[in-house]
Assembly symmetry: D2
């Protein structure tokens, strides 16, 4: 099994390489591309990978040279670049797992509203939203997987059982308040993500209108069979990895805590990566660091009439590359957990 | 002016000493107490204070030895200890600024519900809630100031203009989602606040039932003239100082953004420590680090019909010792800003 | 293959469990012990391990209940406790890998000087110092492995080629200046390792007389065939994992940089975990995070006549549990790298 | 007293503004310049300064517009730019405190060797090296102060008493091993100082040939009256502020610890910012955070025959802007400590 990585010099690229190096099926990375670093050895850019797999022999190439050289491509290119590259790769017979936002929204009009007009709208309907707990079967049959965004992964997994069970109050927005590690901003030289600007501080950003909002709404509305509005606020926390979303949901009727928990346990009974935590559990992103787990905790709050749900992932692993690898497993008909039964790096 | 510090070995104690050392009126710290460290020199416990003010000459004493030796006492003792010590200090003629929660709640029944029966319920009605922007005049006349909690400071300042203007929708809880630095947990040896358990991670704690909830509800209900319910969720972020609260409020009617902003600017027109930020501003706790400022940003969110308010302070300064010093200034009839016109330590 | 973990509630214990969960030979953890947590489920203490291997079924037991229930025991008990437990485990037929300092020093007199009189001095001579690059063959034949200290691992690997080649100037101390992450201090509730005391700061500690000094001197003197004195200074850096040692060595004669590098490349030509970096390389602990690698960089400094060597490891993995697992592989006659060909968690 | 800041958008610039805002003599900042941010309001670039001094009214201008508008200028411009600007400011009658390296080296040949040929070599001999403990009297009389580098400040203060007393062994290099916070790298968007590249890690950089070496050697050689070679290694630690230098010195003869300490206490008896710590003290940069203190600890190490000296400062305050303000005080004939008797921001 040969795999190619397009746009492999970002954090999602190097995270894929980390996970592929430990995969028991030993997929061979046959090509890595980077427009900016073309010509440089992989281990020159990422010295931490020296001595692993075939990585000492890989050299970054231009993305145009990739088509036809792998059976599955991971697109870790920036938003916009992915939709330009995917058609060629697909045409050459490969299957594609895209980690950008380019194929996540189904409706070209919604895509155009939040991004720009889509260059390949026909592929929007073909792409499968790569959240294995919801779309596992379809993923296995697809040739184009739209890997979910990091924040939406937490929000959708945190709300899916409630939404699917029809328990949400109508005409009430759900609030998703999230804190993310800095890897979510990518590997680039920006003043806003420099150490001194981020360390020992906390920041709210894109408080209104973050582009992950329509992705959450699309998936949750589809699951529930009726429109659901999300009020989403992301924050930047001084940590490398991790997203914690604290979700505030109003139910149509009061549901006892134990019953709520049963609904979640039942919904996720075949999901190896979702851990529904016991009552009173205080979630920490450290417990999912470097893993593909999503930890969920439920807290009914009778005083306010709300249910609070805390959903924690590693944004780079479960929120990007780990999830992509789970989708890769599904594409190949392997167990979702192959190469992903990882204990957290703790501390 | 002689001041005494009771329970001075915690982070609020050492923060008071930091601020007092720079105060232009040169208040003299005449006594510092600590039950556990009695007999040790102040600069043995806090070597960072060596060479400043009269601190090299101070030795920790038992709290019982403090009465009568200062005109104003700061009580930085643990919850419970403060209410035991305050009556004696007051009886000896001093004025008291209490940094614990012991005198913040007005209603003994509410206090008993969230803590335990109050040992000196008569003082609950006498104590003034020490939020200068709301109770400034009363603070100047009082002899017992209940210094606000760190989280309530962000929530009350963030919501006061809306509540006071009668703009809040009825029968709707307000959501206060907060992230705090670790100094908020105090200076103690606990596994949960050890470096390795906290660094590079994010945690939700006391997700339901945190004791700062009734304090927020008491003050906001009083301001608005009708009961208001708060759904409050604290989180622990890997930073020393800072609290950011993201508040979700539903208004009774739609208010244009500019009008909203005018209401805040007007409410805080005489408040030197509240900075109402321009539209679109992305607040950061780093911009209030080490200061007494509270930075407020407003974000109407038409899609959800909510108003988001981001409120940021330094939990140790504005959320505790800095606010106590502002109250100290008011007690003495000085400008609230004396010794507190501090630029943030940035970065 | 059944393995037991004695004293499994510290960071070295949980790190062993992380690594064992991914080991391709699937060793079964048959018993985990903890005097303090006996009776608690493993995943209650370490919720991050839920859902992995057989960990959901393990319950901490008292260490006395372990003997005879595994073929290999990892002793992750505190210094002192290990030497009390090892004889019984060995007597019951198991092989033991001890992560404490109890069996690292060969000379009972030296041990007594730096610790206290040794309770089982006969075992000191039997134990093999578990540094695979130096003692690999002997480790495979032993039944008691003394896993090296974290700082000595960096210093010995950094200096071994020079010492072995007889290049060190005589009667000149070697300086080892190290910075460690906080996991090196263990998992305990101490004020000195609390988040607020450590974050955003840097500290020198045990500046003279740290107990890892004789361990470095013993091994380097043995390698070189003559006594070598080490001046060692540890520092605490605000990070979870990682040790970087900057070593200052005076050579008996000037050696050109390329020749120096050849000596190192040759010495480590069969060592899969030592990466000798190219000239000018700026080492970072992030590049070994979570791995068993030791990264070495060499910098001849003609102005001072010294050679600087920078040696970087993950203190918890290579400096403790990863190295223990490499020794476990050697005990079993497996490749040293089994289960340890891990890419760093970066970032 | 009007002061101007040239190149005020870096971290040394904003630190100067922090300190000037609290200065009891109320110097007025009459002009702030920035080539890149010219036209922007000061508080647009640094929102944390809003509401302080006259900062809300300041707008960045081009540096060419500054001459003649202040009595003292702080040059916080990059290396190279400072020596181009200083002559014009001096010619217009102002006094100049330069925070760059442009005027620190006395010998044009040495300057050329480590930087490039100096554009105004005549000023090299006129400039006074702005270390108040050594050159205090000369600073008061000068019109051009070369503010010391951050690393040299720690090394020179740490070694001056030994060197001055003629106690250093001859022909032996002194080793200065330092760890710095990230503000030392300046306020710029660089991959190498991005949060994710720095956090939770430790790095050696410019291991041989860092430009602060000749500055240390110049000052220490001058103090001792004979050449002294320094082997200097800087490291980057994941913290905002702070430098700790661990210095290894070989003495010409053995000096008892108490006598060593007396030499230091005597040398610094009139130095308000140097704190010679008691034997066994474990220095931490946190105890000088935000202050102008330099904390010194001495550790004779009889086993190796070396003396270890640990020297800690806040790199941005004592290592740059705080020291500049002390020099500003001296230029004006004020006490060195005015506006600088600051307690550390702890934690």
């Amino acid at each position: 099994m040969k795999v190619g990585l397009i746009g492999a010099t970002g954090y999602t690229g190097v995270e894929l390489l980390r996970l592929l190096a430990q995969h028991p099926r030993r997929p061979e990375v046959s090509v890595v591309t980077s427009r900016q670093e073309a010509g440089l050895a992989l281990t020159e850019v990422f010295p931490g990978l020296a001595g692993l797999a075939n990585y000492d022999s890989l050299v970054f190439e231009a993305p145009e040279q990739a088509a036809g050289r792998a059976e599955v491509f991971f697109l870790a290119a920036p938003h916009g670049a992915a939709s330009a590259l995917a058609p060629g790769l697909l045409a050459a017979g490969a299957r594609v797992i895209d980690l950008s936002a380019d194929f996540r929204l189904k409706d070209p009009a919604v895509f155009a509203e939040w991004y720009q007009p889509h260059p390949a709208p026909g592929l929007l309907s073909e792409a499968v939203y790569g959240l294995p707990e919801i779309w596992g079967a379809a993923i296995g049959r697809s040739r184009l997987v739209a890997n979910p965004g990091c924040y939406p992964t937490t929000a959708i997994l945190g709300l899916a059982p409630l939404v699917k069970a029809g328990l949400m109050a109508e005409n009430q927005p759900v609030i998703v308040d999230s804190a993310s590690g800095v890897t979510g901003a990518g590997r680039g030289a920006l003043l806003g993500t420099s150490f001194c600007e981020v360390a020992d501080g906390f920041k709210a950003y894109k408080v209104v209108g973050h582009r992950h909002t329509p992705e959450m709404e699309q998936e949750l509305s589809a699951l529930g069979g009726r429109p659901l509005t999300v009020a989403f606020t992301p924050h930047l926390a001084p940590m490398n990895r991790g997203i914690m979303s604290t979700i505030y949901a109003r139910l149509a009727l009061a549901v006892p805590g134990e019953e709520l928990r049963s609904i979640y346990l039942d919904f996720y009974k075949d999901a190896p990566f979702v851990r529904v935590r016991p009552p009173g559990f205080e979630s920490r992103t450290a417990e999912v660091r470097g893993t593909n787990f999503c930890d969920l905790s439920l807290y009914p709050d009778p005083r306010s009439g709300l249910v609070k749900i805390v959903s924690a992932i590693d944004n780079l692993c479960r929120g990007a590359s780990g999830q992509a690898l789970a989708n890769f497993n599904l594409l190949n008909g392997w167990a979702e957990t192959e190469g992903l039964s990882l204990a957290p790096l703790y501390p």
